[in-house]
């Protein structure tokens, strides 16, 4: 199953895409994508019900979040009530170590994204301050990366033995499905996604 793990809708301050249009785009362009995750900036959207869209388009639509830490931005999958109480998703300076530890405690998983990006990616922070325990997976293919940033992320993953995921980081409709993750199993819900990411049996793909 192929899932695009990093996308933003109009729920994010800089997102310009409606979720329905993401679904239409995937169908219209015949993208080889079975589902996608909405990772809104500094928030978890617990309210929206995308099941009618899933049924209409035969896609899996899951929810996560993108939070901001002292080591850059981090995707969190498997967000639940416990995790929402564990730290303030709106903060810009969450300790990465806290996000990783609390995510694991609450049955979620934290995945640093666009690591090669200046300031908001973890590569430069690793150079300056060293590695953080508990990181297992990072985003090695990000659809918004510029020259060399994904290569830096891949090098970091190789150096520390991290698994890599792919996500488009789409903010407009036509950018979904550019970077994705292929899993060896069906991902039916957020728990399946956390389990699969924890098992490490997946592959990052870039179609840019």
């Amino acid at each position: 199953m192929i899932v695009d793990l990093h996308n933003h809708s109009i729920k994010s301050d800089d997102g310009r895409a409606k979720v329905e249009n993401y679904c239409q785009w995937i169908s219209k362009r015949g993208l080889e994508v079975d589902g996608f995750v909405l990772t809104e900036h500094r928030q978890f959207d617990g309210d929206s019900d995308y099941r009618p869209l899933e049924d209409a388009h035969g896609l899996r639509i899951l929810k996560g979040a993108e939070v901001e830490t002292d080591y850059g931005h981090v995707l969190v999958f498997g967000v639940n009530e416990d995790l929402l109480q564990a730290f303030d998703f709106t903060r810009l300076d969450l300790p990465l170590e806290l996000v990783i530890r609390e995510s694991e405690r609450c049955g979620a998983i934290a995945v640093p994204c666009h690591p090669g990006r200046a300031t908001v990616g973890m590569c430069a922070h690793y150079e300056a301050r060293g590695a953080v325990d508990g990181v297992r997976v990072i985003e090695t293919y990000n659809g918004g990366s510029r020259g060399g940033e994904n290569e830096d992320a891949i090098a970091l993953a190789e150096r520390y033995g991290y698994s890599g995921i792919g996500g488009s980081d789409a903010h407009i409709v036509s950018h979904i499905g550019r970077c994705v993750t292929r899993f060896d199993r069906e991902i039916r819900d957020e728990q399946d996604l956390v389990d699969a990411l924890t098992d490490g049996k997946f592959e990052a793909i870039s179609w840019i």
Binding site: R16, N21, Q24, G147, I172, V173, S174
Partner: protein, 137 residues
């Protein structure tokens, strides 16, 4: 040029890709019209002194270029709203390409939503945005 009707357009349609002139001469004409005096737009050396890789295209000119692409695709159309994000500097004297694609349609008010991007020679997105466009017919 004939007007493009709402009924002639489908979700997913690409606008004709457009190469655009961002030469120093063209930028100077724009900044003159816009009353912009910052040298970072019109002088490569001055821009480098500000830490930029060279003179940069004013954001509002990028936005105007994208609006022009829409009008070329749909003569007679009305851009109701255009929202652009200046993600990274677009360099003067570079060779950018503008792209657009229809990503939503609203039959009730005969408008379409268009995704807009300007990419550089490395195909990196420098400007992105969306526009709501009312089509005739």
């Amino acid at each position: 040029m004939s007007a493009r009707s709402f009924d002639d357009v489908s979700f997913g349609d690409d606008l004709e890709e457009m190469k655009t002139d961002v030469s120093l001469d063209r930028i100077k004409r724009f900044t003159g019209a816009a009353g912009m005096t910052f040298e970072r737009f019109t002088n490569h050396e001055a821009a480098r002194k500000e830490g930029l890789p060279g003179a940069i295209v004013p954001g509002i000119m990028s936005q105007g270029i994208l609006a022009a692409m829409i009008h070329r695709w749909a003569p007679g159309s009305t851009i109701v709203k255009i929202d652009t994000v200046f993600r990274a500097p677009l360099l003067v004297d570079s060779d950018p390409v503008c792209r657009g694609v229809v990503t939503d349609m609203n039959k009730a008010d005969r408008t379409v939503e268009v995704d807009l991007t300007i990419v550089n020679e490395a195909n990196e997105t420098r400007v992105l945005g969306t526009a709501t466009v009312r089509l005739e017919g």
